[in-house]
Symmetry: C2
Subunit: 307 residues, 2 copies
C-alpha cells in the first residue's frame, strides 16, 4: 500500500499555520470533514488540543507545507504571513502547483504583493479573509470573502465550506477579498461612532442613553454594532472586547485603501477622528464602545478647568 | 340613562385628526380595543373606511375635539398640527384637563412651543412620535416615543398600547419624544450614506456591489437601512419609497437640534452633504438609496467632459 501514490482517492493534506483562538477551531472543523491537517503554531501549547482534534503536529512551518496541496494561514497579521511564506520557507516547501490560502486580515495592497510573489514561485493563491469571530469559527459559521480565479475557487471551495457557511467569491484578483474585509470595517466603525453621536446628542437633551439604545436596537436606526456594543456604550467602565485603537488602525486601513483607489470616504474619515480623539485622551486601550467619550468631551462643561 | 354622567365606566372618547395611510390604521386599532373614536380628516374620502372600522365621523376639527378626553393628531407636519390645535380651535373645544397627543413627526423646538401653548390653555400635552410605517400602524406594532410627566403617561398608556407594541417613556419634557425621533433619523441617514460609501469604494476596486450588499447584510457591517435599501441601491432606477430630499430635510432637523443643544454631530453633517450632492444633481426626488450616486459622481471619469 503506497499512500502517496493515490492522490485522487486519498484525502487532501492541508498545512495549517496559526492555531490560535480562531485557527484551532477552523482546523478542527477541517479534520472533522475528513481533511488531513498538518498544523503548526509558534506556541507549542497549541499542540495537545490540535492533536486531540485529529490533527498531525508539524515540527516547523516548512514541515507543515511539505507534501501539502494547500497551505492555510490564520496568523495574526500581514507581517507574520510574510514571515511564514517567505522567510521561513513555506512556499518553497510546498509542492509545485499547491495553493496558499491567506485567511488572516491584511491590507489589500500587501495581499496583492504577496500574491504576486507566490505566483512567481508557481503556486496558486487565494485571498480569503473571514469575519464572524471565535463563535463563527467554532460553529463553522464564518463569513469568508474569497478572491481568486474561478478554477482555483472551485478547488478550494470544499475547504472553505468546512469552515464557513457564508462563502462568497468576491472577485478574481487577490486583494479584493482583503478589501471587502476592509470595507466591512468601514461600516462597523462608522456605525459605532454614529451610535456614540446619537447617544451623546440625546444625553445633552436629558434623555437616558439606556432608553435610546433600547429603542434604536429595535427600530429602523438599528445596526449590528449598536446592538452588540450598545450596552457597553452606556456602561461606565465596560470590559474590553476590542480596543479603541483597533478602530483607529482599521479605519486607517480604510483611508489608505481609499487613497490608493482614489475613492473618497468622508464618513470613515470623520469616524476615525472620533476614535482618535479618545485615543488622544490616553484611552486607546479601552473598549471601542467608548468612542462616545469623544462626543461627551466635545460638549463637557469647560467651567471646571478654567483658572 | 345619562351617558356623560358616568365617565368612570364609559369608554373614553378620543378625537382623532388625520386619517391617512397610517392614521386610519391607528384609529381602527383604537376602535377595536373599545375606545370611542371621533375622527376627522380634510379628505372626506377617508370617512367611509373610518366608519366601517367602527369610528364616528366628525364634521370638523372642533367637532372631533368637543367632549373628547383625548385629542390625537396624526397629521403630516408641524404646520398642520398648529393649524388644527390653534387656528381651527381644537384646543379651545376640548374639555378642561383633556389631553393632546401629538404623534406626527415634528421638530423638537416647535413641539416645545406647542406644548407651552396647550398648557397655557389648561390642557395636558404628550409628545409621542412613532416609527414603524404603515406596516407597523396596521399591525399595532408601532414604536412610540412618548415624553410627558409620569401621571400623564399612565393616563395615555392604554391608548398608546392599542397602537404600538414598543411604547417608551423617553422623558418628562415635551420635545424629548420629537428629539428621539430626530436622532432615529440621524442614525438612518448616516447608515444609508455609509452603505453608499462602502459600495462605491468596493466598486472602484471592481467588486460587484450586489455581492457587497449580500455580504454586509449578513455580517457585523449590517444595518437595518442597508438591509432595507441595499437591493434598491444597486438597482439602476429603483421605485421611490422615500426621496433623497426627505433625508436632506431630516438631517437638517438633526443639525438644527445639535445647534440648539450645542452638541456637534459631525457624521450627520457629512451624511447630509452626500444627500445634498444628489439633490444638487437635480435628483432630489429619486429614491434615497441613490445617495450612492454622490460617491460615484466624486470619482467618475472626468475625461469625457473635458474640452
Amino acid at each position: 500500500m503506497q499512500q502517496q501514490s493515490s492522490p485522487a482517492s486519498a484525502p487532501k493534506q492541508i498545512g495549517f499555520i496559526g492555531l490560535g483562538s480562531m485557527g484551532s477551531q477552523m482546523a478542527r472543523n477541517l479534520c472533522s470533514r475528513g481533511f488531513r491537517v498538518k498544523g503548526f503554531d509558534v506556541r507549542a501549547g497549541a499542540r495537545v488540543a490540535f492533536e486531540e482534534n485529529g490533527g498531525t503536529w508539524a515540527e516547523s512551518v516548512r514541515d507543515a507545507a511539505t507534501r501539502s496541496e494547500f497551505l492555510l494561514l490564520m496568523v495574526v497579521n500581514v507581517g507574520q504571513a510574510e514571515q511564514v511564506l517567505f522567510q521561513s520557507g513555506a512556499v518553497d516547501a510546498l509542492p509545485a502547483g499547491a495553493t496558499v490560502i491567506l485567511m488572516a486580515t491584511c491590507p489589500a495592497a500587501e495581499v496583492e504583493q504577496i500574491a504576486a510573489q507566490v505566483a512567481a514561485k508557481g503556486r496558486r493563491f487565494v485571498d480569503a479573509p473571514v469575519s464572524g469571530g471565535v463563535a463563527g469559527a467554532a460553529s463553522a459559521g464564518l463569513t469568508i470573502m474569497a478572491a481568486c480565479n474561478d478554477e482555483t475557487f472551485e478547488l478550494v471551495k470544499p475547504i472553505l465550506d468546512a469552515m464557513g457557511d457564508k462563502v462568497f467569491h468576491v472577485g478574481e484578483r487577490a486583494g479584493q477579498g482583503a478589501l471587502v474585509k476592509t470595507i466591512n470595517q468601514l461600516l462597523c466603525g462608522v456605525h459605532l461612532a454614529a451610535a456614540g453621536e446619537a447617544v451623546a446628542l440625546g444625553a445633552k437633551a436629558g434623555i437616558d442613553p439606556r432608553i435610546l439604545i433600547d429603542i434604536f436596537s429595535q427600530s429602523s436606526a438599528s445596526s449590528w454594532m449598536l446592538r452588540d456594543r450598545g450596552a457597553r456604550m452606556v456602561a461606565n467602565d465596560p470590559k474590553v472586547t476590542s480596543a479603541i485603537d483597533i478602530f483607529v488602525k482599521d479605519l486607517g486601513i480604510v483611508l489608505d485603501a481609499g487613497l490608493r483607489l482614489k475613492a473618497p470616504t468622508p464618513l470613515a474619515s470623520v469616524a476615525q477622528q472620533m476614535f482618535l480623539a479618545v485615543s488622544g485622551q490616553g484611552a486607546g486601550q479601552i473598549d471601542d464602545s467608548q468612542v462616545v467619550r469623544a462626543y461627551r468631551a466635545m460638549t463637557a462643561d469647560a467651567g471646571a478647568s478654567q483658572p
